[in-house]
């Protein structure tokens, strides 16, 4: 079977006819990535284009890897350049003999933390500051005088350390191209450029990419204007209009058959932007509008539903199930991270395996990280992140003393050394901490346990402490959900102020919130649960303004049995009180 046989007629048409400036509007689940990969494969295999002459830019590294992995299956002799925009800039500059020293996320975070602490800018947090710098450097944000001052200080810090950040990288890239305009050799151009997730490409990046086009203008962009959710980084669906103005002879195609979601879910998503996507699936699918009493019962509802779908995880609630389901079929999506705190607590109690996208493992917990860094330092003093941490936290008292006290025990088996560290440094041993200590007992057998631990820690850190192999429930924000799909999706906090998010009021902001909602809804393959808690944080909530847009005959409404819930809680309270008496 060749690659083409799996494609629809429309997809094939795009793959074969995508020369010149070409826009593909690809709605959710319509085979965007497949078409993109198909196009690249077609260029190489059928049009005999040299892979080196093709550039494909993606939004995330993960997407780039996925494309490369699938291209590898096609047995190509060389692979085209597939990378993120930043990756492209980096590789290009390095190839041209530039010395690039990129700062790590962590290091950058530390500089920002320090600056914020010293400044009297108490009103914004680290993330906001980080974004301001980035947007300022990208020329899409007017910084205030004070902000500019802070950014200057930040740049000084970078310079001191001989680092540049990701935004500098792009600026440097742009400058380098401009300065060497006349020298730019033809072989640095690309005969074919493809951009994935075009709706999230900002204009600055787009303008740079254009400079790599040969006069044939083979610029193939694919994306979904309805899924443009990164306006805070200067991206906007307007980029499609700009493209059209730049290349008036453009061609445009729309992929409008959703292969991912069942019929009802596609119909619901069509209501949001009055779009007209049809569904390929024969399945109807189910959409539930769930009303729970509060955030506690919201979490309970989610856990109970997952337990039912899995058919019970213990004998008390076993039941027959017809369908197949595994933990990775479930996702809980929310607008802001603050919503996951309680969920995490309850899921932890349930014993279900789960992961929060973008959140660290136990190694990133304060106490554990502290001990790990100390161990790294004890193993090799050139790894002095520990010292810097101590200095930042003004923890300097007695620390030399404590260090020398610790050094006495360096020859103990690793877990015993850690016990000593706990005593000497007065560390709070949490449950996670005992897990950590239990997990490093494995190095007790080695006489060079400390060194082995250091290697192990660094190896894990490279993989972000994350295990991709296992099957877990996924908790994630709407932003992080883009590009993913799950059989069963729960959207939490379907309430005004959360969906759409409260800061928004202007029309364009509401529009973007709508897009986020659209992204979230279209992740679901079979079942979608929109959950509204009547009370959240002990306050009555209001109905989401999006509700009337989507209310339709294919939504089923479910309500908590409140009487039962109150009774249960009353009993729990009584039990707690009785426990206290004894």
């Amino acid at each position: 079977m060749t690659y083409w046989e799996e494609l629809s007629l429309k997809q094939r048409k795009i793959i074969e006819g995508g020369d010149g400036p070409y826009i593909v509007n690809a709605g959710p689940g319509t085979g965007k990535t497949k078409t993109l990969i198909g196009r690249i494969a077609y260029l190489i295999l059928n049009k005999k284009v040299y892979a080196e002459r093709i550039l494909c830019l993606t939004f995330t590294r993960k997407a780039a890897f996925e494309i490369l992995d699938r291209l590898k299956l096609l047995d190509l002799s060389t692979l085209p350049f597939v990378n993120t925009f930043h990756g492209f800039a980096y590789e290009f500059l390095i190839k041209n003999g530039q010395n690039i020293n990129l700062i790590s996320d962590q290091e950058r975070k530390k500089i920002l933390e320090n600056l914020l602490e010293k400044s009297n800018f108490k009103e914004f947090n680290l993330n906001k500051f980080s974004l301001i710098i980035s947007n300022f450097k990208n020329g899409i944000y007017e910084a205030s005088f004070q902000e500019k001052e802070l950014i200057e200080k930040y740049d000084e810090e970078l310079l001191k350390r001989n680092f540049i950040d990701f935004d500098d990288l792009i600026i440097k890239f742009d400058r380098f191209i401009e300065e060497n305009k006349n020298k730019t050799r033809a072989n640095e151009m690309f005969d074919y450029i493809l951009i994935d997730e075009f709706q999230d490409t900002n204009i600055f990046q787009y303008n740079i990419v254009k400079k790599f086009l040969t006069p044939l203008n083979n610029l193939f962009v694919i994306g979904d204007p309805f899924q443009s959710i990164y306006s805070f980084r200067g991206a906007s669906a307007r980029i499609f209009d700009i493209f059209k103005t730049d290349f008036p002879n453009y061609k445009e195609e729309t992929l409008d058959v959703n292969y991912r979601s069942s019929k009802n879910i596609v119909s619901l998503s069509n209501l949001i932007f009055s779009s007209n996507i049809s569904s390929y699936s024969e399945q109807k699918g189910e959409i539930f509008l769930v009303e729970t009493y509060d955030e506690y019962s919201e979490a309970d509802f989610i856990i109970k539903t997952i337990d039912e779908k899995i058919g019970g995880t213990n004998l008390i609630n076993v039941s027959d199930i017809e369908k197949s389901a595994s933990f990775s079929d479930f996702a809980v999506i929310y607008r802001t991270h603050s919503l996951n705190k309680l969920l995490k607590k309850k899921l932890n109690k349930s014993g279900f395996p789960f992961q929060v996208v973008g959140e660290g493992a136990i190694f990133e917990e304060k106490e554990i990280e502290f001990v790990c860094l100390l161990l790294l330092y004890l193993n090799d003093e050139s790894e002095d992140e520990f010292l810097r941490k101590i200095q930042r936290e003004n923890n300097k008292d007695l620390f030399q003393d404590k260090l020398s006290q610790t050094r006495v025990f360096l020859n103990l088996p690793l877990s015993q050394l850690v016990q000593k560290i706990i005593e000497i440094w007065n560390i709070n041993s949490t449950e996670d901490f005992s897990l950590f200590v239990g997990n490093i007992v494995q190095f007790d057998k080695d006489s060079d346990g400390l060194k082995r631990f250091a290697e192990y820690y660094k190896r894990l850190k490279q993989n972000e402490f994350y295990d991709y192999e296992s099957d877990k429930i996924t908790l994630l924000t709407m932003h992080a959900a883009k590009g993913l799909e799950f059989k069963h999706v729960f959207i939490c906090g379907f309430e005004e102020g959360l969906i759409p998010y409260k800061k928004t009021g202007t029309l364009s902001e509401i529009e973007e919130e709508k897009k986020l909602f659209y992204v979230a809804v279209t992740r679901a393959k079979e079942e979608l649960y929109l959950i509204k808690a009547i009370n959240r944080d002990s306050k009555k909530t209001k109905e989401s303004q999006f509700k009337k847009t989507i209310m339709s005959e294919f939504i089923k409404e479910i309500k908590d049995d409140w009487k039962k819930l109150f009774k249960k809680r009353e009993i729990q309270m009584m039990q707690k009180r009785q426990m206290k008496i004894f």
């Binding site: 899995i310 897990l435 997990n439 296992s470 877990k472």
Partner: protein, 430 residues
């Protein structure tokens, strides 16, 4: 040296377990019951693992003993008859694998036994990145059994990996609800690494021997106890040295070191026979087949039990007995025997007083149930109990198999006629 082994138990860190499931509690009850090697259970739980490291110390290779200062305190309170027995611990855990394979949800429990803390630590390290091992001593991992097996073997090829209570409908390798029909379906190319299975309370070796594809596997029994007084309700008898490798060898090669198992009457299980609780219908697999699997009262499909499931997968008849086989001993817990004789309940104070007297006079429960000469028990003034124990040893008991969630009953003396389900009484003599 004969050893009685119970590898599969749970600590107080597992769901629905007694708070007495501590190392001290297990030690004490191990002596009362007459078990020599007890699994720690739950070694994945961080707090339990740190207790294990704190309270146990290495004894023979791969075996551990309670530290002297803790043990001596407990010993002081035990009758002399059982005080001086050695108790060894062995590191074990049960994992609940929940995943989907070939378009179906699979829920399989597996028992893992390892020789040292280093292996435990390395496993916990992997498991803690796969799932949540802090909330339940029997953790749920969203991992295919086969992958779990390969993780275990990669970390320590000496580890034992044993599918647990293989016939339980909901959570086991051959379970009718979410298991497999063949070992290969679950373990694919790693199938040869599966060398032993655990019968669980719901099956006995004879049921398992009806399946020729299990002929090369060692059949072992464990209690799966959720409280320490339940340990040893099923167990495995070995004739080997106190040493992990010898135990492993006995279990993995099924050689003469493996004597046999001590069994619960499987009919006592809640899903032994088929039937409908609400319709008061209970059928043997043969009867169910005759009725086409339909309830004669409500005409709906019957709830199918373990015996039926075994028949479904087996290639040998119900009566099949291998010519030579490992010993199989059926027991009724002593406390239940006393309660029956006394026409009282297992919670009654008098019943426990008699239990204590018997233990003080003769030794551990296993000695009383299995070894002490009947006439010796009789002579010491326990004649009504000696008769009951004699009948139990002969298998001369009355059995009412469980069905559709109703526990079966085993009684030594003819039970008074209660409302019996829609089927005849059967006696049981194997």
């Amino acid at each position: 040296m004969k050893q009685i082994l119970d590898l599969h138990i749970h600590s107080s860190y597992s769901r629905g377990t007694s708070k007495n499931s501590t190392l001290e509690g297990l030690y004490k009850w191990g002596k009362i019951k007459g078990i020599s090697i007890i699994g720690t259970g739950d070694f994945t739980h961080p707090v339990w693992f740190s207790e294990i490291r704190e309270k146990l110390e290495p004894a023979e290779f791969g075996l551990f003993k309670l530290k002297e200062e803790i043990a001596s305190k407990i010993d002081k309170e035990l009758p002399f008859s059982i005080r001086n027995k050695d108790i060894r611990f062995i590191l074990s855990v049960e994992i609940s694998n929940i995943y989907s394979k070939n378009e179906r949800v699979r829920k399989v429990h597996n028992l893992i036994v390892v020789p040292d803390f280093v292996t435990v630590s390395a496993l916990n390290d992997q498991f803690s990145r796969i799932g949540n091992i802090k909330s339940d001593g029997r953790p749920i991992l969203g991992v295919d059994c086969k992958n779990l097996l390969s993780i275990v073997l990669n970390i320590n090829p000496q580890a034992l990996f044993i599918p647990a209570h293989v016939w339980t409908p909901w959570f086991s390798l051959f379970g009718s609800k979410s298991g497999f029909d063949r070992i290969e379906e679950a373990f694919d190319e790693l199938t040869p690494e599966i060398k032993s299975i655990e019968t669980g309370l719901s099956s006995d070796p004879f049921m398992n021997w009806r399946l020729s594809f299990l002929d090369n596997l060692t059949i072992i029994s464990n209690s799966d106890a959720h409280s320490p007084e339940k340990i040893g309700r099923e167990a495995t008898i070995l004739n080997c040295d106190l040493n992990y490798l010898d135990i492993r060898d006995a279990i993995y090669s099924n050689n003469q070191k493996l004597i046999g198992t001590i069994e619960f009457f499987p009919q006592e299980g809640k899903y032994h026979y088929d039937g409908h609780r609400a319709c008061n219908v209970r059928f043997s697999p043969q009867e169910t087949k005759k009725m086409g699997g339909v309830c004669p009262v409500c005409l709906k499909p019957l709830t199918i039990g373990v015996d039926y499931r075994v028949s479904e997968l087996s290639d040998r008849p119900f009566e099949y007995r291998p010519q030579i086989h490992k010993s199989v001993e059926y027991i009724i817990p002593l406390i239940e025997i006393i309660a029956e004789v006394k026409k009282s309940t297992v919670g009654s104070k008098t019943v426990w007083e008699i239990y204590h007297r018997l233990i003080s006079s003769f030794g551990s429960e296993f000695e009383i149930l299995r070894e002490i000469a009947i006439k010796d028990i009789e002579k010491s003034g326990f004649s009504e109990y000696s008769l009951a124990i004699e009948k139990m040893r002969k298998g001369d008991v009355y059995i009412n198999p469980g069905f559709d969630g109703v526990y079966g009953t085993i009684s030594i003396f003819k039970p008074e006629d209660k409302t019996t389900p829609y089927c005849g009484q059967m006696t049981f003599l194997k």
